[in-house]
């Protein structure tokens, strides 16, 4: 029988190995699932982990999905580090897209390429306003940010529906609930001709660097994190918990809104009611799998994007249910949390048959 006991010091080895072990266990359970569903496990794994990486086109598609996840998760990481639980990034993503769409629809024949900048800024502002409501209600009335931010996701979806079914509906769109197709001048520039990946990739890389600097090199970032880790210490030092609340929520809302703008003016090219695919919720997993660290989140967003594409492929090629994607996401988070226990604890063999005993104080 094994006994779990506290390590004197957190293990450095385990904090690096834990994500890898978690991934291995996820794959192992995945294999069992494939067998149980009557599919060839080798083929299944190939579709999940090899197909999405097989050529430049595939990698470009991987980036298309990874960029919004990365941007949203980066913002969430800052927010969670301030101990503010923003669960509503999906809503902020939608509002960013709505604001960006409004700007994109203003484009006329004479509009220059500068409008892309305006679209992205509008996205940031739209998302930040949506999360700003959360910050305001928390600051003014101490409303629970988890509930408020989550509820605002549904308000955001209703607002989007209202717009595309009503005032913003394309008059020549055969009554489909969607806006006009945005003029090509509003299109987010692509990195290379023929591939869908756009400059969002560069923006994301810059955001990783910027947030790393903010968190680990600036005094504001330090104050924000102290507030999250030890509120009493922040009060003792005199750091304002209000400013941490506002900064955390505005950054995460702005980042989610930016992701929405990149999506709606990039691959989508118009606003439809089907914009929400759960990036905002998946990004919560991405942020935690990436240890709330900007660099870790780069890897976890790529992995999560792999699951998305793998799941789609498994659906079309193997006839597996779409839920496979969520199963893999859930498995990964679950095994990672399990393996993380071993960073602060270790297993010790205590022989056979000895009864477990609890230590009470």
């Amino acid at each position: 029988m094994f006994k779990l006991e506290a390590r004197p010091q957190p293990s450095r080895l385990m904090s690096c190995a834990s994500p890898l072990i978690a991934l291995a266990i996820t794959v192992l359970i995945g294999v069992c699932l494939f067998i149980w569903l009557g599919k060839d496990p080798v083929k299944g794994l190939e579709i999940f982990f090899v197909e999405p990486l097989k050529n430049a086109q595939a990698i470009s598609e991987l980036a298309v999905k990874a960029v919004p996840l990365l941007l949203i998760a980066l913002g969430l990481a800052v927010c969670v580090r301030a101990n503010v639980w923003n669960i509503g990034a999906e809503g902020q993503y939608l509002l960013g897209a709505v604001a960006a769409s409004w700007v994109a629809m203003q484009a006329g024949p004479g509009t220059g390429r500068w409008i892309v900048v305006a679209i992205l800024l509008a996205g940031v502002i739209g998302g930040a306003i949506w999360s700003g409501i959360v910050a305001f209600l928390k600051d003014r009335f101490n409303a629970n940010e988890i509930l408020v931010s989550l509820m605002l996701v549904y308000v955001g979806q209703q607002l989007l529906d209202f717009l595309v079914y009503g005032p913003w509906k394309d008059p020549d769109g055969y009554n489909f609930p969607q806006t006009i197709t945005f003029l090509s001048v509003t299109k987010i520039p692509r990195l290379m001709v023929g591939y869908r990946a756009n400059i969002g990739v560069i923006i994301a890389i810059v955001a990783v660097a910027a947030l790393w600097v903010f968190l680990f090199r600036t005094y504001r970032g330090f104050q924000l994190q102290v507030g999250g880790m030890a509120p009493a210490a922040a009060r003792y030092a005199g750091f304002s918990s209000r400013s941490a609340l506002w900064i955390g929520l505005l950054i995460s809302g702005g980042m989610a809104g930016l992701a929405g703008a990149l999506e709606v003016a990039g691959p989508m090219g118009q606003l439809t009611p089907y914009l929400s695919v759960g990036y905002g919720f998946a990004a919560i997993i991405v942020a935690f799998v990436g240890r709330l660290h900007p660099v870790g989140i780069v890897f976890s967003s790529l992995l999560m994007s792999l699951f998305y594409i793998g799941g789609e492929l498994a659906q079309s090629r193997l006839g597996l249910p779409k839920a496979m994607t969520s199963v893999f996401q859930g498995l990964l988070l679950f095994t990672l949390l399990g393996c993380d226990t071993l960073i602060l604890n270790r297993l010790r063999w205590i022989g056979v048959g000895k009864p477990k005993h609890s230590e009470e104080a």
Partner: protein, 506 residues
Amino acid sequence: MTELRLELNGISKQYPAVKANDGVNLRVTPGQIHAVLGENGAGKSTLMKIIYGAVRPDEGEIRWNGKPVKIRNPHEARALGISMVFQHFSLFDTLTAAENVWLGLDRSIPLARVIQRIREVAEEFGLDVDPLRPVHTLSVGERQRVEIVRALLAKPQLLILDEPTSVLTPQAVEKLFITLNQLSQQGCSILYISHKLNEIRTLCHHCTVLRGGKVTGEVDPTQETNASLSRLMIGAEPPELKHREAHLGEVALAVKGLKLPKQDPYGTSLSGISLEVRAGEILGIAGVSGNGQNELMAALSGEDRRSPEGSIELFGQDISHDGPDPRRKRGLHFVPEERLGRGAVPMLSLAQNTLLTRHESVSRTGWIHKSEVLKLAESLIQRFNVAAPGPHAPAKSLSGGNLQKFIVGREVDAAPRVLILSQPTWGVDVGAAATIRAELLELRDAGCALLVVSEELDELFEISDRLVVIAQGQMSPSIPAHETTVEQIGEWMSGLWPREAAHVQA
């Protein structure tokens, strides 16, 4: 030879980082008051938890009334006749004393019977307890008596008391000792855990000294001196403090009739607190914990900014609404009672923890200069003799005493003009405590004004120039430390100071 009540042979317990007990032997005869003396971290608590069944030893044998026993849990310990009164009480604030006692008993006994038994036991041992009062209305001393009554209801043959006097006034300590002597005469053995040498010498028949998990001595405490006991406990005599004459300067910190309603339902409201601290002196605040010390500290540090305008002045300027940082900029620094989570962030390194109160390494644009932060932490570690692997060590990896040296060092090194400390040596080993006290005296001689809150009267008498007492949110007039006695301050701690004098002062 009489039969032993309790005998421990070669008890060892290994924790991941430390060997808490290493081959410990302990012999307790019936009716004996047996002291277990040692510094924090010497292994006293682990040993008691082993006897009480809360922790299992890795090796060793326990014999109870001559027979070998295995005590698997506290329930079995109580069945054998072992009761324990913990340092931190486990009472529900909203229930009455009797209901709290009832919770731990067999449910089939009616509450009325429990109330009657409490009255009987309380009378027999002179323990003043009203079973019908809700616990939140009781003073700390009264709460402890409830715990003792609860332990005595089981008619124990062995009673374990863990640091029982740390929350009591000197008068309450005397009362407790009378009860304990009475118990001992009736044949109940008592294990008395403490690091207070005077108490052990007056109360106990026998003393086992622990250091680093090992027994370093077994003595008759009545035949020992404080110095010889302390040699056994820490392996050296504590250094003498040099107390020079005070050179008083201007009034540094003045509190004028500070009134502050409590924020927390079980907190204390401050009602008209007045005090003055001058440059170059140490003012000690005595009092039983929970009498408004925390509330006063929060108001002085700036963590609580509700103080009425004009009630707190620093060098003649009103600071009552300023936050901690503006106060620090004017030279007022504060060392809080809680080290982990308030004075330092547990997960962050020592270097990062300097940034809580020190901003020298932050540029005006808000950029952190990492190398300067590291340099500052390194110099603090060296200057204040902190045992730490380096500036990168997380705060929570340090022992209590070393972390306290670091935190006090961080504030002392900032060259404050006023330094406020809450429980500066609470839970700190004797050596580190002496270092910290010496630093405080040096700071005083350099012309800093110091305000020290402590529950340890010995400490206050050792370092303070003047003393005041806080009781029920009110403050006594001040009295020079050399003109008063422990007895007088003890009386004041119950709120019994001459009131007219207080009016004159205010």
